[in-house]
């Protein structure tokens, strides 16, 4: 049974969220009091001070939470969840609030739990090559903590300067180095989780788990805060390669750049990163970092090659040759570590740098089969004309993970709606060519209503039954990921047809 849904107090007209529970809102004082007893110095109940929590990195959807609580110990998190579970109060977890899919969007009748105070690295275990961190530690802080001994944490979302490792786990974040080194899920060794009923459990450890029951760690990674609150993360760290070089390759068209990507991968080269930017994005990023990007090309590829000097030299040559064959207008190889970092700095700052050329943008995140790259880019351009909005492309080309940035001006009536329609068209296109709605940013509220484009009712019910196994009351981050909320008891019921083997041609003995 779909629950009734109503619009959030937000710009978007048709984004519907579960109806706030009036009795819960009526009990607000009592709930605030209970939370204050659990976290005396960390409850924000004042409306003005709750406002900065009303959205995450997707600022077009906004909602003031019921109350915000900032615990600093696992015991506090557990006590909050126990209280909420016992009193039927909803909860929205929040890390650094950089989600681009509205995963941390508050609800009017839910407690927002901010994990910003969990910002300590607990242990660095060099021999086992792992780091144990609290969930609020930023992704970059992990690399910063280990780089003096030549190590790093491989998944590097562009937002790594700010996003939290707990949020990375919740979203299964990726980054420019995921082509070779995997996503968050391939780099996490252990988690401590507080389940919706307040129980604290550990999965995994400092080893690569094997045969240790269902892979709950794999399930929790990417569960968008719907299954439990991550209170500790153990990640593996890797040794920095001997040599790392980045290459800039400029092309006269997106198509030529797209072909080069397919040719590089097709040749059996797996670069550590392979990224693409189009003209608008190149210009915006160049203005911020002065990386020396060529400004007279339509598309720019950034490839990173790592390994021993001999290997890197060899691969740089091969990639340069492929690029030349695909018509590259210019090829530049980083000559120093500084220059390499500058090549990347522009790419990593590209989304917000677009803020220099447009007041607002929506970032799409579909993944497509690489071979359809050129075609999809051309169709996005056509859509851009149809909707009358500019689009800047910055993306993980090696993975086929697109990030079209739809530029608009929220102050102009109607533009947001047009941007949203444009976005939905792009995502439908991705699914149509055999791809998916989201490669790394998560479904959140943004792509929630498009889930049926990819999954049928049975698929979605199967996922929701898993949700029920963790959270029968539906209290954790409701209204995200799933377009309709079902009642767990109802979904658990079995529809048995009854009777005999229902088909004749299955051999029976």
């Amino acid at each position: 049974m779909p629950r009734v849904v109503i619009p959030v107090r937000c710009v978007k007209t048709d984004m519907r969220m579960p109806v706030p529970d009036t009795p819960t809102i009526a009990r607000r004082q009592q709930i605030v009091g209970a939370l204050r007893r659990i976290v005396p110095d960390g409850v924000i109940a004042d409306e003005a001070a709750m406002r900065p929590y009303e959205c995450d990195g997707l600022a077009v959807y906004r909602q003031i939470p019921l109350v915000v609580v900032l615990p600093s110990t696992v015991e506090q998190v557990s006590a909050i969840l126990r209280y909420c579970n016992a009193n039927n109060v909803k909860i929205v977890p929040r890390g650094a609030g950089t989600s681009l899919s509205g995963g941390a969007l508050p609800l009017a009748d839910a407690v927002t739990i901010g994990l910003g105070r969990f910002n300590r690295i607990l242990e660095i275990d060099w021999d086992n090559r792992c780091v144990v961190a609290q969930p609020g530690v930023t992704n970059l802080a992990i690399t910063n903590a280990v780089q003096h001994r030549g190590f790093y944490y491989a998944p590097d979302p562009s937002s790594q300067i700010a996003c939290s490792i707990g949020g990375n786990v919740a979203e299964n974040a990726g980054g420019v180095h995921c082509l070779k080194y995997g996503l968050t899920t391939n780099n996490v060794l252990g988690l401590q989780i507080v389940l919706p009923d307040g129980e604290v459990v550990r999965v995994g450890g400092r080893h690569q788990p094997e045969g240790e029951g269902y892979d709950l760690m794999g399930l929790l990674t990417g569960s968008e805060g719907l299954l439990g609150i991550v209170t500790e993360v153990t990640v593996r760290i890797l040794r920095k390669p001997e040599t790392v070089r980045a290459m800039l390759m400029g092309f006269a068209s997106n198509e030529a750049a797209g072909d080069a990507v397919a040719a590089i991968i097709g040749a059996g080269v797996v670069p550590a990163g392979l990224e693409m930017m189009d003209r608008l994005a190149i210009h915006a990023a160049e203005e911020f970092v002065h990386a020396g990007y060529p400004l007279d090309v339509e598309a720019l590829l950034i490839a990173e090659l790592d390994g021993p000097q001999a290997e890197v030299d060899y691969l740089v040559e091969r990639v340069a040759a492929i690029a030349a064959r695909c018509g590259a207008a210019c090829v530049r190889v980083s000559a120093s570590e500084d220059e390499r970092l500058r090549f990347w700095a522009g790419r990593k700052a590209a989304f917000p740098a677009v803020g220099r050329i447009s007041p607002d943008y929506l970032c799409m995140d579909g993944t497509i089969p690489r071979r359809r790259l050129a075609e999809v880019l051309a169709r996005i351009r056509a859509l851009s004309e149809k909707h009358g909005l500019r689009v800047a492309n910055v993306f993980h080309a090696g993975d086929g993970n697109l990030h079209p940035l739809i530029l608009f001006d929220a102050n102009r009536p109607g533009e947001l709606e047009r941007a949203e329609e444009f976005g939905a068209d792009i995502l439908r296109l991705c699914v149509e060519v055999g791809g998916v709605l989201t490669g790394e940013h998560g479904v959140g509220v943004e792509k929630r209503d498009l889930m049926p484009v990819m999954f049928d009712e049975v698929d979605l019910e199967q996922q929701q039954r898993v949700k029920c196994a963790f959270d029968a009351g539906g209290l954790l981050n409701p209204g995200k990921v799933f377009p309709t909320l079902h009642n767990c008891a109802e979904m658990g019921r079995l529809r048995v047809s009854g009777g005999q083997l229902p088909f004749p041609d299955l051999p029976r003995f």
Binding site: D125, D127, C130, G150, E171, N172, C178, T185, V201, R202, R206, H207, Q208, G211, E212, G213, Y214, D215, L216, M217, L219, G222, P241, G266, G268, V269, P308, A310, E311, Y314, T367, I368, P369, R371, H396, D399, G400, G434, G435, V436, L437, G439, V443, K447, M454, V458, D459, Q462, Q463, R465, V466, V481, L494, R495, V496, L501, P502, L506, R508, F509
Partner: protein, 406 residues
Amino acid sequence: MGDPLIATDEASARDAIGWAVSEKTPIEIMGGGTKRALGRPIQVARGLSLAGLSGIEDYEPSELVMTAWAGTSLAEIEATLAANGQRLAFEPPDYRALLGGAADGATIGAVFSCNLAGPRRTAAGAARDHLLGIRGVNGRGEIFKAGGRVVKNVTGFDLCKLVAGSFGTLAALTQVTFRVFPIPEAEATVLVIGLLEQDAVAVMIEGAQSPHEVSGAAHLPAGIAALSGVSAVGGAGRAVTALRVEGPAPSVVHRVAALRRCFAPLGEIEVLEAEGSQAFWREVRDVTPFAGDSRLVWRLAVPPAGGAAVVAEVGRRIEAEAILDRGGGCVWLATAQKAEEAAGAVRDAAATVGGSATLIRAPEAVRSHADVFPPLAAGLRDLTARVKRAFDPLGLLNPGRMYAGL
């Protein structure tokens, strides 16, 4: 058990489970049957074989992705990939010799259901890390899908991870989509001869901490090394510690030289080139040294630095032979004692470093009574049961395969 129902397509697999649901009768999900001796034995009246549901559905080498029906044989998949210069990077093992039994090869569905991996796991992950999308039939008799067919995807919960390593207790997989990788141009293995376990682990840690991208690190004590069919290993007469590197030829040459320089002061060095290296790692992958006898075989997953300590700890209580794989993070133990006694010693030892132990080889009678998989912590037991019910509310699929009563 009566002869199995044989699914020839997805619909017939669904109908078979649908029938089991309507009859409330448990059913055993089978692929090639090579891994029936893995896990707890199942006592059910009826099997469902998916071996007939076979064929490669989609494979575009430049996408580095393949989609195949679950019953496709691993051999067919590996041959097709090899013809295109590609492979499954997680090095799925072949336990036929170790476990005895079926002569037919494994199916790709079973490889993922059991989440197997070989020595490359530290560098490339296990089967779970490569599974991108699934189709399957749940315990309600419904066909569902999860994941996708592209390398990067976070649309919805990652049910692929749950199903990988669930030994058919959550769903009968009908189709899998997984990542494939180019076969590196060259490989070589550096052998350090004559190290004690503790020193071997130190060498393997150093190898892993080096920038040389070691893609396999194993240690065979003298008695086990002697069984190897690779002459440099079999004839070493002492313990052998092996480190593998793979990549473009010039890079392999460079790294072999670097590793040699690094470890020469510790012991005699030998280098295995292409075929020798491949043959050696096949033996490690398939645990061949333990294949010929009837001892219990355990697989311990531990923090790599704890590998040697665990072996020593077990050795204090019972007699055991050990192979260290994955840089010390995977310990293979063969024990001759009675199951309960061995289980106590092995599991306690694994626990001292926060690891776990799985009983990989044991007679059926032992596996039906003892815990095969590491017992679940209290907090996880109920959750696991609830997850199982979320897929299979009546408990029809491979009941008891992983845990008694589940």
